[in-house]
């Protein structure tokens, strides 16, 4: 189906990369080819499963480089030899060494522009909108979920079969959406027109006779100026007594009194976000951790971490520490405390060293 026609798109959500790869492999065996995948990290196996070949962009870039070379040299030759020959200190008008720097720059310019535009062209970017954007929960493709999108079905039966394959491969849910690429083009047009209208408003004539300076002269208070309105004659207001910065709001939680629901939630979040590096047992042993040498993630059960206060652990989860990124976006405050409680439980249960 080409752009412009209404398009059926089938989406599936997975909770593991392995299932996603397996689903891709099965779909390709069943001759479904128009597949697209979304994952929070690079999955090398996917390239093979999707049957990606190395792009031929290199040839395009090479051709552009040669064209840039010829153009840069040609324009210099035309200007210096043909159009306007100048005698510069007796040097030949066709001064090859002097032409080379600009020729070099022209080659690099054309080649790098070609690779930049080529990538946009091959990936069909920029894409202002796609159906996926409107699926609730799709944004988790950049956190902890794996999505697969496919379109171009020969018939409804064909689509239903694909959906069945996806479900068998362990998809959490499948979603069918209709959409048209014209919607994307339409939105692009709206933006372009809005920009054009905005720019056209900048004509000199429109501003003539209008007193723009009025905006600066309007009555207003300066932050540190005085005011006759308030009793203390200050323009700026002091916050009410007892106000504290939002960041300094007391955050406490008794991790020892956490109930089973909290610990289960904490364990669940721990396995999603923490165990990847710190290990399932929190002992710092994991594949990712081994690859982070020479500064591997510490064992959460080690003495220095045990000595940290619960609030410090909470702060590290919130803001990150060293090579660990902040998890404030992925974990709600309640979840963070639940994770801290779970870590405390791991620490209590860990064999003493």
């Amino acid at each position: 189906m080409r752009a412009g026609m209404r398009e059926i798109r089938l989406l599936a959500e997975f909770d593991s990369a392995t299932k996603l790869v397996a689903a891709v492999e099965r779909l390709r065996q069943e001759k479904y080819h128009d597949l697209e995948t979304y994952a929070p990290f690079d999955i090398p196996e996917l390239d093979a499963a999707l049957g990606y070949r190395r792009p031929r962009l290199g040839w395009f870039v090479l051709a552009a480089g040669i064209a840039g070379l010829a153009a840069a040299y040609g324009i210099q030759w035309w200007a210096n030899v043909h159009s306007y020959p100048l005698n510069v200190g007796g040097r030949p008008v066709h001064a090859v060494p002097a032409f080379i720097p600009a020729t070099f720059e022209g080659t690099v310019l054309a080649a790098s522009l070609a690779s930049f535009l080529g990538v946009l062209l091959v990936l069909r970017l920029p894409r202002l909108w796609s159906i996926e954007d409107e699926v609730p929960g799709f944004d988790r493709a950049s956190i902890d979920r794996f999505w697969l999108a496919m379109h171009t079905f020969a018939s409804e039966h064909d689509r239903a079969h694909a959906e069945q394959v996806l479900r068998k491969s362990g998809a959490l849910r499948t979603i069918t959406r209709m959409g048209s690429e014209w919607q994307s083009v339409g939105r692009a047009l709206v933006i372009v027109i809005a920009l054009v209208v905005g720019v056209s408003a900048c004509s000199d004539r429109i501003g003539q006779g209008f007193d723009w300076k009025r905006m600066r002269r309007q009555p207003r208070y300066q932050p540190y100026g005085s005011s006759r309105f308030f009793g203390d004659s200050m323009a700026m207001r002091t916050p009410p007594a007892g106000t504290i910065p939002r960041e300094a709001a007391p955050t406490t939680f008794d991790t020892t009194a956490a109930d089973a629901t909290t610990l289960l939630r904490g364990g669940d979040r721990f396995h999603v976000f923490c165990a990847v590096c710190h290990g399932v047992a929190g002992n710092g042993s994991s594949v990712v951790g081994d690859n982070m040498r020479p500064t591997p993630p510490p064992a959460l059960t080690s003495a220095p971490i045990v000595r940290l206060g619960a609030t410090q652990l909470y702060a590290v989860i919130t803001d990150g520490f060293g090579r660990m990124p902040a998890y404030a976006a992925q974990l709600t405050p309640a979840d963070r405390w639940a994770v801290v409680a779970y870590v405390r439980m791991l620490q209590r249960g860990a064999p003493s060293r």
Binding site: R54, G58, G89, R91, P97, A98, N291, R293, P294, T295
Partner: protein
């Protein structure tokens, strides 16, 4: 004694004998040829040392598995220091600034102004300082690298970090000393001529040749049954090829910028150096070097597939080494034979001598050293490396 050690030692001894005969019969030719041979070899040794340190500073994981190859090459450093002796002993016969009275009148006054720098005692003192710095840095890098073989865990991580800091400092020291060494030993062959980019030019050539030699040794050491079989893969050759391509372009860029500035300035004193090296048979040699050290490697290294073929990278490595020899020959010998190439049997003899001794010593020193740095925390990622 292995075959490489024995054969290169024999080559060195034959070269030494011929060199001694040469010094007696035609000392100026023999010693100038010696400068050529010596410069060819010491730049490769320093190139390998620079690559060792550069890979540490940049954290290049792909190179970890090939690092011992570079360490093997830079292992020639002590013998390179000893082989500098003829330069210091024969300084009066090699460099015309040592006896200004023999120079033409105009050149005399120019050289006299440089006497504070260009005088024999200071020349020797500087040379000793350069060589001491190189031997010392190579010794520490080697010592720490071998110590790392016995370390695990945090101790290995700490040793790696320490090596990285040393490398950052070492790069600055070697960069500066190599620049001044090339000014002293090579550029001062024409004492009235100077170019500030000369040191970088010499470095670029030597570094490129070292990368070529790493590819040659890497290919030989990763063939079936060889020590690096299965460890060094086409992925590593691909990465090495990219680095080679970068430095092929870098060399050309530096060579051309030196030429362009002098060509466009068109001042007799500056351009005389290029007039000598650009006319007659020297001009032909220059063209061969431009094609062999830039055009051919550039085109060969451009596609992805070629860089990943060890056999091709071996051939290219040989080409780069041969071109480095010709490049240095083109830098040095016109000082003695300005009218055109005058090939002498001493050019070959001295190259046999310096190259033979350096190879023999380096391979003897590599004996008993593990083929890969087993304690390096980056070894496993390096072996798994795959080109993006």
């Amino acid at each position: 004694m292995t075959r490489v050690e024995r054969d290169s030692m024999i080559a060195g001894i034959i070269g030494l004998a011929l060199f001694v005969i040469g010094v007696v019969r035609e000392p100026r030719q023999a010693l100038t040829s010696y400068v050529f041979a010596y410069a060819t070899v010491f730049t490769i040794g320093l190139g390998a040392l620079m690559q060792l340190m550069m890979s540490q500073v940049t954290g290049a994981r792909w190179f970890t598995v090939m690092r011992r190859i570079a360490l093997g090459i830079s292992g020639a450093m002590p013998v390179i220091a000893v082989l500098a002796l003829p330069l210091f002993i024969g300084v009066a016969a090699i460099y015309s600034w040592a006896s200004p009275a023999t120079l033409p009148h105009e050149a005399q006054s120019l050289v006299e102004r440089k006497v504070a720098w260009l005088n024999v005692p200071f020349f020797v003192l500087r040379g000793v300082v350069y060589l001491a710095a190189w031997v010392l840095i190579d010794a520490i890098v080697r010592r720490w690298s071998i110590q790392l073989d016995g370390l695990v865990g945090m101790a290995a991580a700490d040793a790696t970090r320490r090596m990285r800091r040393l490398s950052a400092l070492g790069l600055v020291v070697v960069g500066l000393t190599m620049t001044f060494a090339s000014f002293d030993w090579l550029m001062s062959l024409d004492p009235t001529w100077y170019s500030t980019v000369y040191g970088v030019y010499v470095f670029a050539g030597g570094f490129l040749a070292a990368l070529g030699l790493i590819a040659v040794v890497g290919r030989m050491a990763s063939r079936a049954g060889a020590p690096l079989d299965g460890a060094v893969t086409p992925e590593h050759f691909g990465a090495l090829g990219k680095l080679q391509l970068t430095f092929v372009i870098f060399w050309a860029y530096i060579a051309f910028s030196q030429f362009l500035i002098i060509w466009i300035g068109d001042i007799p004193l500056d351009s005389s150096w290029y007039v000598t090296r650009g006319s007659g048979s020297w001009g032909t040699l220059a063209l061969i070097v431009v094609i062999g050290q830039f055009a051919i490697p550039f085109l060969v290294l451009l596609p992805r597939t070629t860089k990943r073929r060890p056999a091709l990278m071996w051939s290219l490595g040989i080409l780069l080494l041969v071109m480095h020899v010709l490049d240095v020959y083109w830098l040095v010998l016109p000082a003695l034979h300005p009218t055109g190439i005058a090939f002498s049997w001493l050019d070959v003899a001295t190259l046999l001598m310096v190259g033979g001794f350096a190879t023999s010593f380096a391979s003897r020193r590599a004996r008993g050293v593990r083929a890969v740095p087993v304690g390096d925390p980056y070894l496993a990622p390096s072996m798994r490396y795959s080109e993006p």
